[in-house]
Symmetry: C2
Subunit: 343 residues, 2 copies
């Protein structure tokens, strides 16, 4: 997909845009008919159930064009949806992409966006099978629906956590929240010779180009050791709170155990409150949070390492309701920040 | 779902809104887990394939709040998606609803919208199983994904039309286009005592509250007599053009055969050009267009009557490519209007 310099959407038209996207997308497992009819036709693996989720991203609400290059925006649009399938222990399969496009948006923006979207889709074996395109009178609107599948007995829900279970998280927490603070210029880079740029790029990349933990989620589902799972999109306290609510339990999170990346540590070294608050309440890391019996701690840790990722036990499920963060001595840690509120 | 007069979205919050919608929705066939986890879990009927489609509706692009009451807007948001499943001969099953909501939108608007959406869903046995809600900095954005199912041998595609087949349409054409002209005050009401209001309401209702032809689409799929099908969202010429393109055929549409409603005839009586152009190129009627051998004309007509709808053979599939409208004497009819263009 390359375009002459002056091509824009008006000259290309809606059907031109759709065939442009369709011709660039590859069709993988289970696709009977992709883009081009009234509905896509796909076939599930016999015995598996269907998993579906959808996310909408609005310009100047969820992303800014000044900060987010179209390639990484395309990747993220699909990544956040793949993350939802990962959180169920499912296999991501097919996606629908709807775009509302302001007049005058350069075709290069769209080409880069679609290239990013399709790169992410190929990395995870997801086929783009349909969608919708229309004009927007304000900003870019992106709506993605993902479909995945899994055998019923392997699907992991938010309910199922039991008192005494470990609370686990994959990867590191708070990186995306610090990345946002760096973009907003609310946080200085760490001082010292030649420092800062690498850390800055890592943290911002965690925000703009998150990696969905699809392989880890699937491995955990296949291990049959996990009692509940969710992805961390709104912050650990808030998202574990959903597990706690639907499992009718509570939880203690030990702040000393929170997994923090080296760039996160470097950038937050002079801001101890920001550190724990970002790790506890910062959204958009798209790591997995799950619960499992402490008896399986080593198996789970090894299982995650085989997926190329560290997982960390950060707390314990309690029979008492409520989710609390605690210091090493057990005294409560009170956050100043809250999870992202939409309204 | 009733709300105190001063309740708004800020006091309700995102999770309050979601649980409000979830508590009002009923769960039908194949739903394992609906709203409330990272993804919905549903089970297809064994042997059937999955049909998926999605549509995005933007305020001031696809609808105006001044014209479209929220109840009928909710109905239409789902109806246009059910229409896509109908056009494949599928059984509509599950839907995802994403809403971007401007600050200050009255909660009553949302309640009426959701009530309309859920009424349409109950009429067609569709379960609302998930979605997304977020803030909008401009107008209301609605994105709906629908999932349906059907046995592979019954699914009807746009390809498959054969030269010599009849071209059929269900219901009447052009009503929604005239309804829009009435709203835009580009068309006067017919003259005469006590006339006009009924016609006006019918035509506007066809635009604001279209009826998806789900039962008819399903009956046609089960009849095994139909060679290709599509729904008419952009206008007959444009939409049959997709059948023609994907079937590698052409078609002749006889304008004298176009099915026109009595209100349409009354309102267009003094505007003969507008009449045929609206019926040929007016979008949003959401009727079905399909092709079948002339040998099956009576069976098909009877089959549609059993579904409570008239179907009309309006033309013939040709081996010569291109879609043309013709007068009774075979001379070409040239339209002045074109199908809806998004860009």
């Amino acid at each position: 997909m390359t375009s002459p310099a002056n091509t824009n959407l008006s000259t290309l038209g809606e059907f031109g845009l759709i065939s442009r996207i369709a011709s660039a997308s590859k069709q993988g497992a289970g696709v009977i008919t992709g883009i081009g009819d009234d509905a896509a036709i796909t076939a599930l693996t016999p015995g598996m159930q269907l998993l579906t989720s959808t996310d909408m991203l609005l310009e100047d609400v969820h992303f800014r064009r000044a900060w987010h290059d179209p390639y990484r925006l395309g990747r993220k649009s699909l990544a956040v949806n793949i993350s939802d399938i990962a959180a169920m222990g499912g296999i991501p399969r097919w996606a629908l992409l709807s775009l509302a496009i302001p007049a005058g948006l350069p075709l290069d923006f769209l080409d880069d966006f679609v290239r990013g979207f399709l790169t992410m889709s190929e990395e995870h074996g997801v086929s783009l099978v349909g969608g919708d395109t229309c004009a927007s009178r304000s900003g870019v609107v992106i709506s993605v629906t993902i479909m995945g599948e899994q055998f019923p007995e392997r699907i992991l829900r938010r309910s199922g956590a039991r008192p005494g279970d470990d609370i686990w998280v994959t990867g590191t927490l708070g990186d995306a929240a610090l990345g946002l603070k760096l973009l907003e210029k609310q946080l200085p880079l760490p001082e010292g010779e030649g420092r800062g740029e690498g850390e800055r790029n890592f943290l911002i990349s965690r925000l703009l180009d998150p990696t969905p933990r699809a392989a880890a989620g699937l491995a955990l589902a296949e291990s049959a050791l996990v009692t509940a799972m969710i992805d961390i999109s709104d912050g650990l306290l808030s998202d574990f709170g959903h597990i706690a609510g639907q499992s009718h339990v509570g939880g203690l999170i030990r702040i000393a155990e929170l997994p923090l990346s080296a760039p996160f540590r470097a950038c937050s070294v002079h801001f101890p409150e920001l550190r724990y608050d970002s790790a506890l309440t910062g959204g958009e890391d798209y790591e997995l949070c799950f619960t499992a019996s402490p008896a399986n701690r080593k198996i789970i840790s090894d299982c995650m390492k085989k997926c190329g990722i560290e997982a960390t036990a950060v707390g314990i499920v309690t029979s008492l309701s409520g989710v609390r963060a605690v210091h090493e001595d057990g005294s409560p840690y009170h956050t100043k920040m809250n999870g992202f509120k939409h309204f």
